[in-house]
């Protein structure tokens, strides 16, 4: 019986008659760690036969910072800056995942206003992260101008975050028990104004890139992750949804107040290309932006004045036990496994299950038989952040 984890021998690349006689041996090529198309310090060793990839092996660890080990010597509040640096493009979502785990063990009541503002913040961060994915993916495929539009909009989100939390990228804003600061009325107004603007911009992005013939030719039917592969490897987030499976933790296993919200879960339907290809993964992200705008508007409508910080002891000591908390991040499902020995100010163990790690491990599965240029498109479409892969 074939093992579940066995991906088998790499399939022989398709070679036409003329080149078969010329073939001598496979050429080993290193993509990265400085290659701009790898979105960080990922090295992919690819064995190519002329232009066709025979096998691809991702090499990780260039951004390994021992975050899990470090956090074992850190009090529970001090871990938050480290968790920020996991996925530095969606730091708010990372913080929220960790903070939820601590709050679950501590049994803290988070005020309603804080929960709603967390949702606003997390969804804004999701938009910012997807805009980054959109812009850099366009750059991977040789289109430069979408990147500039995306950064123009992303800058507005970062500006709001800077005013609210004080930092632009690594916020330390979501605290155990609530939030560091409250949004002012002016900032809330600006968030709603941003939402209106974002919908107009999203339409523009579709005209600019999504429906562009060249873009479709580059992405449709390229790098197809079948649904079975996604289940086997444990893919989550836009990768799984792009393959046509409707799974979103915010909808299926609602945490926080997400059960009160009305939104859709976009999936790749294969209107262009087929479910699971690069175009469908891309379009799922772009549609999630619109859904996030919906959630933000509903959350703002529900906002009531009140405190944003619950009652938390000055020195946090968790009871003995362990907890596993999942949350939906822009790149997939973040899992935080927190173990406490009790009577201690520091975690005994903090294990992070990162979504990008599983997605990178899927690359050797789809790489054989692709052209190198298509492989670049595939790597771009899974939208990896290496901070999270290596930890």
């Amino acid at each position: 019986m074939q093992s579940r984890w066995d991906i088998g021998e790499p399939e022989a690349p398709t070679i036409n008659k003329e080149t078969e006689q010329l073939k001598s041996e496979l050429l080993t090529l290193n993509m990265g760690p400085q290659h701009p198309a790898t979105h960080g310090v990922l090295r992919i060793e690819i064995w190519t036969d002329s232009e066709i990839v025979a096998h691809a092996i991702p090499h990780l660890g260039y951004l390994h910072r021992c975050m899990e080990k470090h956090s074992e010597n850190m009090d529970y509040r001090g871990v938050i800056p480290y968790v920020d640096r996991l996925d530095y493009l969606a730091a708010m979502n990372m913080e929220w995942g960790y903070v939820m785990a601590v709050e679950k063990m501590l049994g803290t009541e988070v005020p309603r206003r804080a929960e709603l503002l967390r949702i606003v913040t997390a969804e804004l961060q999701r938009i910012a992260s997807h805009l980054m994915a959109f812009g850099t993916y366009a750059i991977d495929l040789g289109a430069f101008s979408p990147f500039l539009y995306a950064f123009d909009m992303r800058e507005k989100i970062l500006r709001i975050f800077e005013e609210v939390s004080g930092a632009r990228l690594l916020y330390n804003y979501i605290w155990i028990g609530g939030l560091w600061n409250d949004y002012t009325d002016d900032q809330i107004t600006r968030v709603s104004a941003f939402c209106d603007e974002m919908l107009v911009e999203a339409q523009k992005y579709h005209e600019l890139l999504s429906m562009n013939k060249i873009f479709i030719e580059r992405t449709a039917n390229v790098g197809v992750f079948s649904l079975q592969d996604c289940f086997d490897y444990g893919a989550t987030g836009p990768i799984l949804r792009g393959s046509g499976y409707k799974w979103d933790l915010r909808k299926n296993k609602p945490y926080s107040l997400y059960s009160e919200f009305d939104f859709d879960v976009p999936v790749g339907t294969g209107e262009i290309g087929q479910p699971g290809d690069c175009w469908n993964r891309y379009i799922v992200r772009m549609r999630e932006v619109v859904e996030s705008v919906k959630i933000i508007r509903q959350a703002i409508a529900k906002l009531e004045p009140g405190s944003v910080m619950g009652k938390v002891p000055k020195i946090i000591k968790l009871p003995k036990g362990e907890v596993y908390v999942r949350s939906e991040c822009p790149r997939g499902e973040l899992g935080i496994h927190l173990v406490s020995q009790g009577e201690s100010k520091v975690p005994y163990r903090l294990k992070v299950k990162s979504p990008c790690f599983t997605h990178v491990s899927m690359l050797p599965r789809v790489a054989p038989g692709q052209m190198i240029a298509d492989f670049v498109a595939t790597v771009g479409s899974i939208d990896i952040v290496l901070g999270e892969v290596d930890r």
């Binding site: 850190m74 009090d75 509040r77 001090g78 871990v79 938050i80 800056p81 480290y82 920020d84 101008s145 123009d152 800058e155 800077e162 005013e163 609210v164 939390s165 004080g166 930092a167 690594l170 330390n172 560091w180 600061n181 523009k204 005209e207 600019l208 890139l209 429906m211 562009n212 013939k213 060249i214």
Partner: protein, 167 residues
């Protein structure tokens, strides 16, 4: 000509027209930015952005208000704050901080390694006298890494106080 060939010829030209039309659409959107859109980038050295109130830039400790409680050093996740203090000499009068707390220890060293600092802001939130704050200075590059260590008891650093501390 068979219908299959007609179909493929039609498809060929339809693809071509589609390619031209969608590309022109994108170029039209881009060309709208040539006139009438204000630039979003800031010409940095000449034009400076006004930072928001809560911005977290270089740390500043107002040593006149520091009571050497070392809470900031304990809260720091990267251990970049070095504090040393000793007993007040006999018979010296006990000063008070601006919010009325007595200063019982003589601060002999207060150094922050800004190269290590991760600007998380945890130290400023635990400070009981609110003497440790994030200032809005962001231009402090140095030639050596030792230059990033700021001794807040040094006279030149204390002189920043007039500029930074709001009274």
């Amino acid at each position: 000509m068979s219908t299959a060939t007609t179909e493929s010829v039609r498809e060929y030209f339809a693809d071509m027209i589609n390619g031209v039309v969608t590309t022109l659409k994108g170029m039209w959107i881009t060309s709208k930015y040539v006139w009438g859109v204000t630039p979003v980038s800031i010409e940095y050295p000449e034009v400076r952005e006004v930072l928001p109130e809560r911005s977290r830039m270089r740390l500043f400790n107002d040593v006149q208000n520091c009571i050497s409680c070392t809470q900031c050093a304990m809260a720091c996740p990267v251990d970049c704050i070095y504090i040393a203090s000793e007993k007040m000499p006999e018979g010296s009068e006990i000063k008070k901080t601006s919010n009325g707390q007595p200063i019982r220890l003589l601060l002999t060293q207060f150094v922050i390694d800004t190269a290590l600092c991760c600007y998380c802001g945890l130290c400023t939130t635990v400070c009981p006298t609110e003497c440790l704050t994030h200032s809005h200075d962001y231009e402090f590059s140095q030639y050596t890494i030792d230059g990033m260590k700021y001794d807040y008891l040094a006279p030149d650093v204390i002189a920043w106080r007039d500029r930074i501390v709001k009274t």
